[in-house]
Every structure is written in structure tokens, then in C-alpha cells.
Symmetry: D2
Subunit: 135 residues, 4 copies
């Protein structure tokens, strides 16, 4: 029924984003709030919530075949990267660190147009972020 | 690390919501927009998008251990129910129909406080929606 | 250009929801996280975030002319009501209390089908929530 | 009560994002779906929905004092820019075009660190997007 031209690498990126959304949200709203201390330090807690939010957005853009998922994935990679670093500093958050790192890597590839497609092995013509910014 | 008091039935409901979010969003933005005709009829298309949106919200409430997930699951059940009916009328949308029906059923149980918990088998004291509405 | 059949009471409800979204989110992520103590107590903080989230959803449903905004507004009224109570208990959160109360009231009217329309003064045929729940 | 260090330019950007969210969502779900034809052409309609979604996200990041709003605003600027162009081509969507253009401009300034602050006139130390991308 549904014709989705989603390559394997994009499918992997969607899965990584949805997993990171779920992990960061669940950890922030349970573990972090219940533990307190550095876990509810504003900068760290904001990163957890914002990471969850943009991961959901990036997944939704890709599920919806957006032609402009590139810059969204680039932004998602940066937020995930910052969140992973913050989780490492706080400590005891290995699950989040792993989810954020996996999502950083697959979003980074998406943003750079390294989505190689299913069959052809040919790089998509998506330009890099800085070429496309309307600035 | 993460202490989540999520019962098996709530876990199932979260999974059903996230699956329904993904299925409805992906189908609306690809199959429906590309097929047109009854698939982009306003009432049907709105239901698809709103169903995806509230399924994500309901999942987020449960992942975040919300004390007020009951009325949200009740609302989600109603939207999923309406979306399933609309998809049946349009036809050729079996995947959405199944996702919406499964989500309707598990959200309905959550809303009615039929979440039996992990160990005790004792019904949660969540009151029914109409008791709790501040009206 | 845009033909929106939004009645004055629905327009008011949309405005109340968007104001409550903004107020709760901004307060939770700044005042609550920076103040700590009872402001980051899990139950209270979750209510703040979930209230912001469902207010945005309810506004989006009404902006998108959803046929099933009734149960969403009912759920939004209950979450806003609980959030207002929690903010009163914590204290020093008058802006949130007021935003949540205004949103509770206008969402409650929407859910009960008290949206009287612009010109006719005729009550919409939207049934009450308990009639329509697919249970 | 609430201490928000939001500069005037960031406040303007938040307002522009929330206005663009509302305008694109309301237009897509009403005018576009009811008019059909080029208004529900997949690429155009997706841009409308994705523009509404990322504008809400960008506003939420800034309302929540995110330290990583820069790349999100950069992505938002690009999506709004693409949406404005698409709306111009379709025609008869002046309100969307204006909302998207205003949002493109203020998000572009946020992303470039041109948020000059309220009093000091000193540029924030936010680096440009390409410096900060974890690639």
C-alpha cells in the first residue's frame, strides 16, 4: 500500500531518533526528577528535554519525506552531541549517553547527505548545510 | 539506573501509541498526499494528522509518569476510534486501521483504570474520566 | 484568503491554550529549574510540562478544525486544573495559576459543547465527552 | 516572579516563530485541504506542516532558555525560507509568505549570533552554525 522511498540509512536514523526521544524523555521525567541534585541542574535538564523534543521532530520530518530534513538532522546532531556530553559529566546515565551518541552519528550522516540509498550506492544530491542556509 | 514503575499494560499502551503515531503520520504524509482524492478529503486527512499527534502526546505522558494520563488516554482512544472508522471508509488503509484499533483498545483500558499493575493484580484507583473532570 | 469558521469562543480557547502553553513552559524551564526545591518535585514539574504540551495540542486541534477537539479539550481542562492546584500549593506562581485557570474554563466549555458560535447563538451539536467515548 | 533573560531580539524571534506556527498550521489544515489542487501537492503541503512544527520547536527552545537554540534556529530559517518560496509559487497565500519571511529573518539572526541583547549592545558569543556542528 504505502510507497515509502526510505533508504536503509534513513530508516536507521528514524529508529535512532525515536529511541533517543524515548530514552531522554523517560530518563528526565523519572530518574532525573526523582534523583535531583546535578540531574535537575537547569542546563542539564533542559538539554535532556530539548534533545527528546528535536529527536521526535527529526524523526517526523523523515517519516514525512521532508525535502528539508537535512538542516533539521544537523541541528538534532548538535543537540544530541551536547546532551551526551552533559549526561557523561553528570554520570550514571549510560543509556542516555549511548542513545544520544548513536543519534548524533546517524543524524550527522543524514545532514551531510551521506544517505547512500538502497540500491544504487549513489550519494543523494543533498548539499551540505552551509551551502543551503538562506543567509 | 532508571526506576520506571511502568506496568506491562502501560508499556503495551505506550508501544501501541508510538506505533500508531508513526503509522498515521507516515501514511498521511506519503500515501494520502500522493494518492489524493478521498485521501486528502479535509475531515479524513485532519483525523490522520491529529491521531498521530495525540498518540505521541499520550505516549509522552505515560513515559513521563503523568498522574493525569487517564483523560489524555480517553481522548486518544476517541481520536483513534474516529480515525480507524475514517480509514475504513476510504479503503486500502489496513495498516492504519489496525494500528488505530489496537491503540483505541489499549488507551480505553488505560482511561478506565484497567491498568492492573505488574505484581498485585489489583486495579489502580484511577477513577473514571467523568468522575475526575473539573466540570 | 483563509476561510476559518472559528467562533469567538473557540478563538478565545485557542488564545487561552497558547498563552498557557507559553506560560507553563517558560516558567518550568526557567523559574522552577533555577529555584529547585518544591519547584522540581517530580509530580509538580511533570504537571507543568504536561500542561504546556497538551495546551499546545488542544490549540493545534482547534486551529486545524478538528472534528474531535471535544475530548482533547476535556483532557486539557483536567490537566490545567491539576496544574493550577499544584502551582497554588507550591506558591509564588500566580501567573501560571491564572493561565491554567483561564484555560481550564475555556476548554471545559469547548468540551461541553458550549461553543455558541458567532451569529446564531445556537449550541453546537457536539455531545458531551461521556456520550462519545468509544467504550 | 519569573526571571527570564530574554533579549528583545529573542523575544521578537519567539513571537515570529509562534505566529508562523499558527499561520502555517491553520492555513494548511483549512485553506489548503479545502482548496486542493496545488495546495495539497505533496512537497508543498509537507513544507507547510513541517514549517509549523519546527517553528513551534524553535519557540519552545528559546522559551526554555536552551543553550543550543542556534542550530535549531538555523534549521528553522531554512525550512521557513523553503516554505515561503513554495507558498509564493502556489499563489494566493500572502499571509503565509509574510509569516515565513519574518520568521526566516529573525531565526537567521538568532542562528548567526546577532542577538544583540537588551542593554549592552554586545554580541552574544554564540558561534556560527558551521563552527559548532559536531562533524
Amino acid at each position: 500500500m504505502m510507497q515509502t522511498m526510505t533508504s536503509q540509512s534513513m530508516q536507521q536514523c528514524i529508529d535512532d531518533c525515536l529511541h533517543c526521544h524515548r530514552t531522554c524523555l523517560q530518563t528526565a521525567m523519572n530518574h532525573c526528577l526523582e534523583t535531583g541534585g546535578p540531574h535537575t541542574e537547569p542546563e542539564h535538564f533542559r538539554l535532556m528535554m530539548h534533545c527528546a523534543d528535536i529527536c521526535r521532530l527529526a524523526a517526523d520530518f523523515m517519516l514525512g519525506s521532508s525535502s528539508v530534513h537535512g538542516p533539521v538532522c544537523a541541528a538534532c546532531a548538535e543537540v544530541c552531541h551536547a546532551c551526551a556530553q552533559s549526561c557523561e559529566q553528570v554520570g550514571g546515565m549510560d543509556e542516555c549517553v549511548q542513545a544520544c551518541r548513536a543519534c548524533t552519528e546517524s543524524c550527522r550522516q543524514m545532514a551531510q547527505g551521506l544517505d547512500l540509498g538502497n540500491f544504487t550506492g549513489q550519494a543523494r544530491t543533498t548539499s551540505t548545510l552551509q551551502d543551503r542556509l538562506p543567509m
